[in-house]
């Protein structure tokens, strides 16, 4: 890679993880395509998984005060996420992931439309409790099949209308957990060598720089502005899924 290309990749990582620092979402969906265009998808997924784990852990630490209020849905969600990941890996090997991408993209766009039609409406606690395990399962399936779980996790948690710190912790915890499973699987399958680990550590530098600034920006956002910021990231992810599925 040329110096200019490296700078472009680092800038993409910085922008992606700035969005993540503000909303809890973003990061890999923005950084992976840019890096993949130079080095290939497998390389990009393996490298970006390292700064993603760092960013998610950092966000969890920063927002840990909200953990006790949300663990009632987070624990079943993460438990079923493991089972879902196994099914997701099987699906990855057996069905066309473009079908999943399109289905998911449509589902997310429907959610965003539903939000704008009923901005005040949130899922009641009883329903949310019932949906926690299926949402975790769905996130796991998606993570196993496509490597991303943000569409399901982000959509489910957004529908609960949590305060910012609760939302960020609620998305960062499953991302961190599923991300570690991804890193472990890749490492077991020989997906990491010294060069990739080094590249992953270098990719952590922009994350370390932008995450604290982004968290500060996020804390200053109003509740409404925060909800919209999350919807923007979800919208971008939905369009990207539809694009990759239909292209």
């Amino acid at each position: 890679m040329e110096v200019g290309e490296i700078l472009l990749v680092l800038a993409a990582v910085a922008v992606g993880f700035f969005a993540k620092g503000v909303t809890g979402l973003g990061g890999p969906p923005l950084a992976i395509p840019v890096l993949a265009s130079f080095m290939g998808v497998e390389y990009a997924v393996a490298v970006i998984a390292i700064p993603a784990a760092l960013a998610n852990f950092w966000l969890m630490i920063e927002n840990r005060s909200a953990a006790s209020d949300i663990r009632w849905f987070l624990v079943p969600m993460m438990a079923t996420g493991v089972v879902g990941t196994l099914l997701g890996v099987w699906l990855l090997l057996n069905i066309d992931d473009r079908i999943m991408s399109v289905l998911l993209g449509v589902f997310m766009l429907l959610y965003i439309i539903w939000y704008f039609l009923n901005p005040e409406r949130k899922i009641d606690n009883r329903t949310a409790r019932r949906l926690a395990a299926p949402a975790g399962f769905g996130a796991g399936v998606l993570a196993g099949a496509t490597g991303i779980s943000a569409p399901v996790v982000g959509t489910y948690v957004h529908s609960l209308r949590l305060a910012r710190s609760g939302f960020v912790f609620a998305v960062a915890a499953p991302f961190f957990f599923l991300g570690l499973m991804q890193i472990a699987s890749l490492a077991a399958l020989g997906g990491y060598d010294q060069a990739r680990v080094t590249a992953g550590i270098i990719a952590c530098i922009p994350v370390v720089v932008v995450t604290p600034i982004a968290m500060r920006v996020g804390r200053r956002l109003s509740v409404q502005a925060f909800q919209y910021a999350v919807l923007v990231v979800l919208g971008i992810a939905a369009v990207r899924l539809l694009w990759s599925g239909l292209a």
Binding site: I61, S65, F176, L180, I183, A188, P212
Partner: protein, 347 residues
């Protein structure tokens, strides 16, 4: 904990001082010292039970490493926990201690058991200087400046031939039979850990510690209230470097070589931060609990699952679980719930 509250009489004047007999602390607080004494005696006696321990050297090595992390995490907590300044460059001081003692051994044959305190003092001097520069910043800028410090030292040692460059320097091993080789290192680390925890305890119960906590709460208000914030922060930075430097000196000797990548890595600093946060940042006992817990998780995971990639998931799961159920760290959360055992209540 005894709270110092300003009592005011009904007419607004200060009440007459009462001459009461000084009372001993109630039961649990006294037990605390008995339990701590028992723990220290057990740790001191551990190497004497050689016939009863099958993997003697392994146990002592693990014990020494846990004690090293206890010392480093407790020291980091003085700046990161009490003052609220997150440093990701503290492994620099470990490296400084390691290199000072290592160079004196390699070129002059002086044992690191003698020169380790000197390593700590040099770390303090560098901590003072680094704090003088980096503590002009705060928040994200401070974190980044400490990372820059780390990379600066990595580059310097990598390119300094006298220090062995990137290959480092091999150190002559301690001249002891294999069966007793780990004992001196274990006792040295035990002393260092006790010193570090004692320092943290003294800081926590001093005017200086109160000033640091005020800085962590609100630096501007602390300044207005008369806390010399800059002096306190720099002193905290320097003080937090000492035991890390001493631990680095002994650690370098125990592995028989010093090399930039052994010391100057962000992973070591991150581990100190992690241990303090998981145990309870800003508490005296927190880093101790965090160090023991994280090291135990790592080690148990290795024992049960071997050195496989599965370890990453196990350790991650444990971290998520701790954050979910102990969001203020183990000690902080238990205290908030009024369930902290008296022997862990050192604040």
């Amino acid at each position: 904990m005894i709270e110092d509250r300003a009592a005011v009489g009904p007419d607004g004047s200060a009440p007459e001082p009462e001459h009461k007999e000084v009372q001993r602390p109630p039961g649990p607080a006294r037990y605390r010292w008995y339990v701590l004494a028992a723990v220290v005696v057990a740790l001191l006696a551990l190497p004497l039970f050689r016939p009863m321990i099958s993997s003697y050297n392994y146990v002592l090595t693990i014990g020494a490493l846990v004690l090293m992390w206890v010392a480093m995490s407790s020291s980091w907590n003085i700046l990161g926990g009490f003052a609220g300044y997150i440093s990701l460059g503290h492994s620099v001081f470990m490296g400084v201690g390691g290199y000072v003692a290592g160079v004196l051994l390699y070129y002059h044959g002086v044992s690191p058991f003698l020169t380790a305190p000197l390593g700590g003092l040099v770390a303090v001097a560098i901590g003072f200087l680094a704090g003088f520069i980096t503590l002009r910043t705060r928040g994200p800028a401070f974190i980044i400046s400490t990372i820059a410090l780390l990379f600066m030292f990595l580059l310097m040692t990598d390119n300094f031939e006298y220090l062995g460059g990137a290959a480092g320097l091999p150190l002559p091993p301690l001249e002891l039979s294999q069966e007793w080789l780990r004992v001196p290192f274990y006792y040295a680390m035990l002393l260092i850990a006790m010193g570090a925890v004692w320092t943290a305890y003294r800081v926590a119960h001093s005017k200086f510690g109160m000033g640091l906590r005020a800085i962590a709460e609100d630096e501007v208000k602390a300044e207005v209230a008369g806390v010399p914030t800059r002096l306190y922060k720099i002193s905290a930075f320097a003080m937090s470097a000492f035991w890390v430097g001493v631990a680095g000196a002994i650690y370098g000797y125990s592995i028989a070589f010093i090399r930039p990548t052994v010391f100057f890595t962000i992973a070591i600093s991150a581990q100190m931060v992690l241990m303090a946060i998981i145990g309870g940042k800003g508490t005296v006992a927190g880093p101790v609990v965090g160090a023991v817990l994280i090291y135990a998780i790592n080690e148990l995971s290795l024992v049960f699952f071997g050195a496989t990639e599965f370890n990453i998931v196990i350790q991650g799961t444990m971290l998520v679980a701790v954050l979910l159920f102990f969001p203020l760290g183990v000690v902080g959360t238990l205290r908030k719930m009024n369930r902290l055992p008296a022997f862990l209540n050192w604040d």
